[in-house]
């Protein structure tokens, strides 16, 4: 909590800058309107005029809050205009991708730790896979999924999410599974433990703190994947699709609200995963 005051100050400064930017960027349009109506405009009028536009260049913070509030509480949860509905669509893809990413990451890590050949063949390609901009692949994955008869948009989005989220899990799990030192490995050898016993009783428990630490990175990557997966694919549901629709149909407020909705969703997911991590660390006895 030592950081509460500095953090609040920084957030406050950001909001003030945002308001100033809103006044500055929106003033051109407001001045043009006033000129057309042949009206003089004082500074106060100008400020008011920049805060209340329907299609602002920069939506003022309170406008975004109102649009978000309206999107979350103003409509039935099942309505297509509700952010809860769209957020849920995105969340579903995120969580499936997250789960898939964990399975792939942990599976590959186990294979890598147990076989030198897998380590040497797969690891360089896993690194290269992350330098390839996934968005180039995203439309492709959707088309292929459609062509092989998957109508649902959930699967392609989940694959994109998994592509982004498996890597942090893989890297952490490889270091985690290799964390036990020679002394501990030797001890198990003197007990006459075989490979699977070493894995279950030593390597796996030793890797769990690494695993939980990687989840926070993975869930953030996973959400980005789900949103990116909605952008180029003509999706009509989901937060990413709301941004696209807001941009194409000239409703910037929806766009801004969807952006902040996505940010809030990301915040909630990170906090939840962080809580899981701390709980797990306490159970494992590694919490500080």
């Amino acid at each position: 909590m030592r950081n509460a005051l500095p953090v609040l100050t920084v957030v406050g400064v950001i909001i003030v800058i945002w308001y100033i930017a809103a006044i500055w960027m929106n003033s051109t349009w407001a001045l043009q309107m006033a000129e057309r109506l042949g009206r003089e405009m004082g500074f106060t009028d100008l400020v008011v005029a920049t805060m209340t536009q329907d299609r602002p260049l920069v939506a003022a913070p309170h406008q975004v809050v109102v649009a978000l509030w309206d999107g979350v509480f103003g409509h039935a949860v099942t309505s297509k205009r509700s952010f809860v509905y769209h957020g849920f669509v995105t969340l579903e893809a995120t969580l499936w991708g997250f789960a898939l990413g964990i399975v792939i990451g942990v599976g590959l890590a186990i294979a890598i730790v147990h076989s030198r050949a897998v380590d040497m063949s797969v690891m360089p390609w896993a690194v290269i896979s992350q330098t390839v901009p996934i968005v180039a692949l995203a439309p492709m994955i959707v088309v292929v999924a459609n062509a092989v008869g998957v109508e649902d948009r959930l699967l392609p989005k989940a694959i994109i999410s998994a592509y982004l989220s498996f890597f942090p899990v893989l890297v952490s799990m490889v270091s985690g599974l290799r964390a036990p030192n020679q002394m501990q490995l030797d001890l198990l050898k003197t007990y006459g433990a075989n490979r699977s016993q070493v894995f279950w009783k030593l390597r796996l428990p030793a890797s769990l703190p690494y695993f939980f630490a990687s989840l926070k990175v993975a869930i953030a990557a996973s959400l980005i994947g789900a949103i990116v997966g909605e952008l180029p694919t003509g999706a009509i549901n989901g937060l990413g699709a709301r941004m696209l629709i807001g941009s194409q149909f000239g409703q910037p407020l929806i766009m801004w609200a969807a952006l902040f909705g996505a940010a809030i969703l990301a915040g909630i997911l990170i906090i939840v995963v962080g809580a899981i991590q701390r709980a797990a660390d306490r159970r494992m006895g590694v919490a500080r």
Partner: protein, 280 residues
């Protein structure tokens, strides 16, 4: 069917070779094994696509993609210049240098540092890619809006890393500089910036991928009739999947090359760091 069986046979042989190579532990094996693995995947892809007669609309064979790549070098080059050189590189240079400068300014105030680190960390984890439509609205359809998206995307990861790096010197080292009578700027240039380099390069490496993602995604929200994102979305619409794959190949080469270039630069600049030592 024979082709599919052949593919499986090749897989088994290549895998056996890789296992043997990996066991030798020779230096050459470190490069040979991944290359053999990659080539095997390509050969299997080719053979299975031909063997099962997969429609080119679903998955074209590697040779078909290579044909298309060679046939449309001109288009690919135009897209590369538009998206990568104008959009991604410009934004990358502007965003990263702005972030480093901002970090140096923020670093002078411990209060700001403590406030900005958590906020910056949080923002770096957000799906910032969503600002793409806003930037397209502000800066129009051409590359300026793409560069702007890239600036916003790379700024926070870069800022957080640089701030963390500038705090990486310990009090002993700073005290030494003080006993030399070094000024703030001398300490910054001779001690703290060099010490921050591993962190800065970490940020620069993360930012390479983000820059390409930002530049391509921003094109989905509106672009002139060139650019990789534009070409991908229109080619998908025309079911010209081989063209999409050709663009993916370009993206993969650029992405790995960009990352590799920054990594090489890192090696040259931070040769003194433990993580780089002993890696000739």
């Amino acid at each position: 069917m024979t082709l599919v069986i052949l593919a499986l046979l090749i897989w088994l042989v290549a895998w056996w070779a890789n296992v043997r190579l990996a066991e030798t532990g020779a230096r050459a094996a470190r490069y040979a094994v991944p290359v053999i693995f990659g080539l095997t995947i390509l050969v299997m892809w080719e053979l299975i696509v031909r063997g099962l007669e997969v429609s080119p609309v679903i998955l074209p064979a590697p040779t078909a993609i290579a044909d298309r790549f060679a046939a449309s070098l001109g288009t690919l080059w135009i897209d590369f210049v538009q998206t990568v050189v104008k959009g991604a590189f410009t934004g990358y240079a502007m965003g990263c240098s702005a972030a480093v400068l901002a970090a140096i300014i923020i670093d002078r105030s411990p209060f700001l540092t403590r406030g900005l680190l958590p906020v910056g960390n949080f923002v770096a984890a957000l799906p910032i890619i969503g600002v793409a439509p806003i930037m397209v609205m502000w800066f129009g359809f051409d590359w300026q809006s793409k560069a702007a998206v890239v600036v916003v995307m790379v700024f926070f990861p870069m800022l957080v890393n640089t701030v963390a790096g500038l705090r990486d010197t310990d009090s002993m080292q700073r005290d030494l500089m003080r006993t030399y009578g070094a000024s703030y700027w001398q300490t910054l240039l001779k001690l703290r910036l060099p010490a921050a380099m591993p962190f800065i390069f970490n940020g620069l490496k993360i930012a390479t991928t983000l820059a390409l993602i930002g530049a391509i995604v921003a094109e989905f929200f509106g672009s002139p009739i060139k650019g990789m994102g534009f070409r991908i979305s229109t080619s998908v619409g025309q079911l010209a999947i081989d063209m999409v794959w050709a663009e993916i190949v370009v993206a993969a080469i650029v992405g790995s090359g960009f990352y590799g270039g920054v990594a090489l630069l890192e090696k040259a600049v931070t040769f003194w760091h433990p993580s780089q030592r002993g890696r000739a």
